[in-house]
């Protein structure tokens, strides 16, 4: 069914009885040309682009829980392209271009809102760093506006500009950044993939790989063996475990990242703001809740809930930046398990096993990458070549010295 204003009017006048389930719930077939492990944003977007761009229809997406039940439903929904280093620059730039056309592409409302994304600086060094970053973004063709303290004051007058410790020195605004409705992104890609014949198989956990002569043959699952010409892993948070079943060891640690939402309040924040001290970021959802997050807790974890010290730290950062937030009551907090790679950048590559591909290591940047990661992974799996804007996310870059360390912290995943 093609969604349109006409459909809404027609169904509105006929008791909304004409809507149909958005995707099928098929039984797994004996084998597929391509099996994608992981029915999250990236897995679904990969399947979509494989079917749409490369005409490969005999595909299954295997999801151990329900579609979109992992990190695509747990993030703070921020979309931006304000990275610093080659590799990241062209990739996120391409991703933002895909975002800008995503609703038309999918015929699905992902509620992309390019409300702007503001990074703050609190001293001269940080301000110079933002100027450098902004120039890199402009040179890549993306938006960047370096703002003085007065500019920031006019843009977001409710911040605490004269904090004794962290006065606001200026900021870098990307007017094309913003937020999207995270679940809708997963659902839109799922619908688009299903319409093109992709089997989305839920409650199907991969328990092992069948590998013969260094080549992938298929996957063992909780619903039986499924043969596959090619297999793609797209299971961020659990990448190490799934890869271990194929005998691979990866430059990844799993960490817990918490996020928070307050009760719904009237419109107060019309952009995305990142505090430059202590990695705090905040926006307001269309429902009215203030959605915010901070750093990872800082130690390996597979528990999808964080500890209280980080809750306290994030609350302190919120109060330092925006004292009015103290009036709002926190509604919920939750945690997601993220793949922290050794340089803070992702991996989209082949593995040493023929026919087995890896998409992982997204740290806390996976949501904004959803369209481009799927498109790049689909391109790699379909053609065997890397997409022109995703050539540097190589698995062997740690051996060759071509790391992409945007934060400049070295091989310390808990510091990225």
């Amino acid at each position: 069914m093609h969604y349109s204003v006409l459909q809404i009017l027609k169904n509105g006048l006929t008791g909304n009885k004409g809507w149909k389930p958005v995707w099928r719930n098929p039984e797994p077939k004996k084998s597929y040309d391509i099996v994608i492990i992981g029915g999250g944003g990236h897995g679904l977007s990969t399947a979509y682009y494989l079917a749409k761009t490369y005409g490969i229809r005999n595909i299954a997406v295997l999801e151990k829980g329900y579609l979109g039940g992992g990190n695509v439903g747990r993030n703070t929904t921020i979309v931006r392209a304000n990275y610093l280093l080659d590799g990241n620059l062209e990739f996120y730039s391409h991703s933002l271009k895909l975002w800008e056309n995503l609703e038309q592409e999918l015929n699905y409302n992902v509620m992309l809102s390019q409300r702007g994304c503001l990074l703050l600086a609190h001293n001269d060094g940080q301000f110079d760093d933002l100027a450098w970053r902004g120039n890199a973004n402009l040179a890549t063709g993306d938006d960047a506006v370096l703002m003085s303290a007065d500019d920031v004051r006019a843009y977001t007058p409710y911040l605490n500009f004269d904090d004794a410790r962290f006065p606001i020195r200026g900021g870098l605004l990307q007017r094309t950044g913003g937020t999207a409705r995270h679940d809708a992104v997963a659902w839109g890609y799922a619908r688009g993939a299903d319409m093109r014949g992709v089997d989305l198989i839920q409650n199907c956990e991969v328990t092992g790989f069948r590998i013969e002569g260094g080549k992938i043959k298929g996957v063992e699952t909780s619903r039986g063996y499924i043969g596959a010409g090619k297999v793609g892993m797209s299971v961020a948070g659990r990448t190490s475990q799934v890869a271990e079943m194929a005998g691979l060891r990866l430059p990844i640690e799993s960490h817990v990242l918490q996020a928070f939402v307050t009760e719904a309040v009237k419109p107060v924040i019309d952009t995305v703001i990142s505090f430059g001290m202590g990695h705090f970021y905040i926006s307001q959802s269309d429902k009215g809740g203030l959605v915010f997050g901070g750093d990872i807790d800082g130690y390996n974890s597979y528990s999808q809930r964080g500890n209280l010290p980080m809750v306290e730290h994030v609350a302190e950062a919120a109060m330092a930046l925006m004292p009015m937030i103290g009036k709002a009551r926190m509604l919920r907090s939750w945690g997601g398990i993220v793949d922290m790679s050794m340089d803070g950048s992702p991996i989209i590559d082949k593995t040493p096993i023929e026919g087995l591909f890896l998409n992982g290591g997204w740290c806390y940047g996976g949501f904004k990458a959803t369209p481009a990661a799927g498109a790049a992974f689909a391109h790699l799996m379909a053609t065997g070549e890397k997409a022109a804007w995703a050539t540097k996310f190589n698995l062997n870059r740690f051996e060759t010295g071509h790391v992409i360390d945007d934060e400049g912290t070295g091989a310390r995943p808990n510091l990225h």
Binding site: S240, N300, S301, S303, N307, P309, M342, F398, A411
Partner: protein
């Protein structure tokens, strides 16, 4: 989480700095690039028990070898990293 420092007793984990896997105690000898790549970058990243290095930065500054369940956050055993390293020799 509360970590029992052998010198200082049980303390809140905010007093400690996390470094990473305890495999960092096993620095490879010589100039084998593959061994060093594995040492610096590759991690087993297990669920369940993980051996880790923590430093008691807001206490005695000792480096600790902590065995911790990364799924439940339970601290299972804490030793001085120096003792673990010497015992391995």
């Amino acid at each position: 989480m509360r970590i029992h420092c052998p010198h200082c007793g049980e303390r809140d984990h905010r007093e400690f700095e996390y470094l990473g896997s305890a495999k960092l105690l096993e620095r490879p000898e010589g100039g084998d690039a593959a061994a060093f790549h594995d040492y610096v970058f590759q991690r087993k990243n297990p669920t369940g028990e993980n051996a880790e290095l923590w430093q008691h930065v807001m206490g005695c500054s000792a480096w600790l070898h902590v065995v911790r369940n990364v799924t439940t956050h339970e601290i299972i055993a804490v030793k001085l990293a120096r003792d673990v390293k010497e015992a391995a020799r």
